[in-house]
């Protein structure tokens, strides 16, 4: 049965006004601008771009301002906005081996060619609140080495490749175009390209927990952070007017190559296998977690026993998207008055029956009569 519920219009409009006032806060404090968010909260911007699946720092900063810093809400805003834009095409695959590096470390090889480059990391900070940041200060001038880094640094995964100790990553025969989850719904079995797209826009917290679960013994794959690199890569496209590729800008990416133990199978000798993480912006935790989960999801392909949640594609890929998850959880706020009313009535009947049975057991009236009485 439908019950038309009207009203609430004024309440909603007033709540919008109240929301805007709450967003602004105390007017004696200067209003924040998207440019400030982009410059000074760049890691928040990176997460919104990554999980919003849209690289645009200005839009992500605006979304963060509008959402008053609620990341999942900002991600939702960006996802909604992208549906209003036309799709021009696909880029050439980005070449992370030609990344202009700002950070590059390996936990597996101390003396890797090109060296360990720490870059702007929180890793070696003491995690003590810095009260000097309460006051504005001049922008520090970071020290510069005499020489820049080498133009191209080999990937760590290539160092062991020629010995055959490291699984090779080669394009598929014919280098086919991958499934695009922004065009087609997720379906199973999902190939690796589909899984990687899903994980790349997956919720960082969810991936972190799933990755962590593999480390705690739910599908242990003994990972090493083979290499993490962060920096700028060229975005190359082939404009339809030209027919040849041009670089139209750069994007910042964080890449993680996880190296995992593999005992081998009947066809493959023991070797290191790999999990891969790649994310927009400076997003180290995200790309590491993604690499752990990518590797765990390869269990079936590698003939490993699948026992843990992180190894189950249906479980992981169906629950990784925070826009979907947030929508479904939060839809519980929508009016369910009629549903609830019917549940309430059902529950009353069940309780009457239950009471009746108790009375029958004690030599009382028949349960149907009790129910009839109460309904009258």
């Amino acid at each position: 049965m439908y019950v038309a519920v009207k009203g609430g219009e004024t309440a909603i409009l007033n709540s919008h006004e109240l929301l805007a006032a709450a967003r602004r806060g105390d007017e004696r404090v200067p209003e924040i601008t998207p440019a400030q968010i982009r410059q000074q909260l760049r890691l928040a911007v990176a997460r919104v771009m990554s999980e919003g699946s849209l690289y645009d720092e200005d839009l992500a900063a605006l979304a963060l301002k509008q959402a008053a810093g609620d990341q999942v809400e900002a991600i939702f805003l960006l996802r909604a906005y992208r549906t209003t834009l036309p799709r021009f095409g696909y880029s050439l695959p980005v070449d992370t081996s030609r990344m202009a590096l700002r950070r590059r470390i390996s936990a597996a090889f101390k003396d890797l060619p090109g060296g360990q480059v720490l870059g702007p990391t929180y890793d070696y900070t003491q995690r003590l609140l810095d009260f000097s940041l309460c006051e504005p200060s001049a922008s520090p001038l970071p020290p510069r080495a005499d020489e820049p880094l080498a133009e191209a640094m080999p990937r760590v995964s290539e160092l062991l490749g020629h010995e055959g100790l490291m699984e090779e990553e080669l394009p598929l025969p014919g280098d086919p175009a991958p499934v695009d989850l922004s065009r087609e719904p997720l379906s199973f079995p999902a190939d690796r390209a589909t899984r990687l797209q899903n994980l790349a826009r997956g919720d960082e917290g969810f991936l972190l927990a799933m990755g962590y679960s593999t480390q705690r013994g739910y599908a242990n794959s003994h990972p090493f952070a083979g290499e993490i690199r962060m920096g700028e890569v060229a975005l190359e496209i082939v404009p339809e007017e030209l027919g040849f590729a041009i670089t139209i800008g750069e994007i910042t990416l964080t890449e993680c190559q996880m190296i995992n133990q593999f005992a081998g199978s009947s066809t493959v000798p023991p070797q290191f296998t790999r999990g891969y993480g790649l994310a927009f912006g400076e997003a180290e935790r995200k790309s590491m977690a993604m690499a752990l989960v990518d590797r765990a999801l390869r269990a079936a392909e590698l003939g490993e026993e699948t026992t843990a949640p992180a190894q189950q594609p249906e479980f992981v890929l169906s629950h990784s998207d925070n826009v979907e998850a947030s929508g479904f959880v939060q839809h519980l706020k929508l009016p369910h008055y009629v549903d609830f009313q019917s549940e309430l009535e059902l529950l009353r009947k069940m309780r009457n029956r239950h009471e009746g049975r108790m009375k029958v057991g004690a030599g009382g009236t028949a349960p149907t009569e009790v129910a009839a009485e109460e309904n009258a």
Partner: protein, 157 residues
Amino acid sequence: MNMNDNPGHPVERQHWLTALAMAPCAALEQALEQTRSAGELPTLIWLRLPQTGLFMVRARAGGSGAQFNLGEASVTRCAVQDEVGRIGIGYVRGGNVRHAELMALFDLLLQDEVRRADLLGAVITPLNERRQAAREAASREAAATRVNFYTLAREVE
């Protein structure tokens, strides 16, 4: 297609298009002022009005394996044409309409044999140098955070 008209030029054009797309928009505004003071600009018509849309960014599993779709990037594009039929195109990452317009204008001007040498010297070379300098500065800052391991030798008793 334009590249077939000038079969020798795609590589050169590829270079200047990249330089224009990677340039800060303000630098192109400045270059426009210079170019304007040096002589009349051609009359242009829009072949494609500036429009912001999306390119899906592709990557490879493990950096070198199967292609996958990483996520989209916003891109603004446009195209202009002059009276003799030359076509200039603008494609820039992000939503800056003015940047795409200026890129298309300079792409068109650079196809003019009479103007090309001057523009390459006055606009494209400085843009490339500027980009190179910025890249080197960032790289030297990163290089200053490179770890130099040293081994402590145990003292012989």
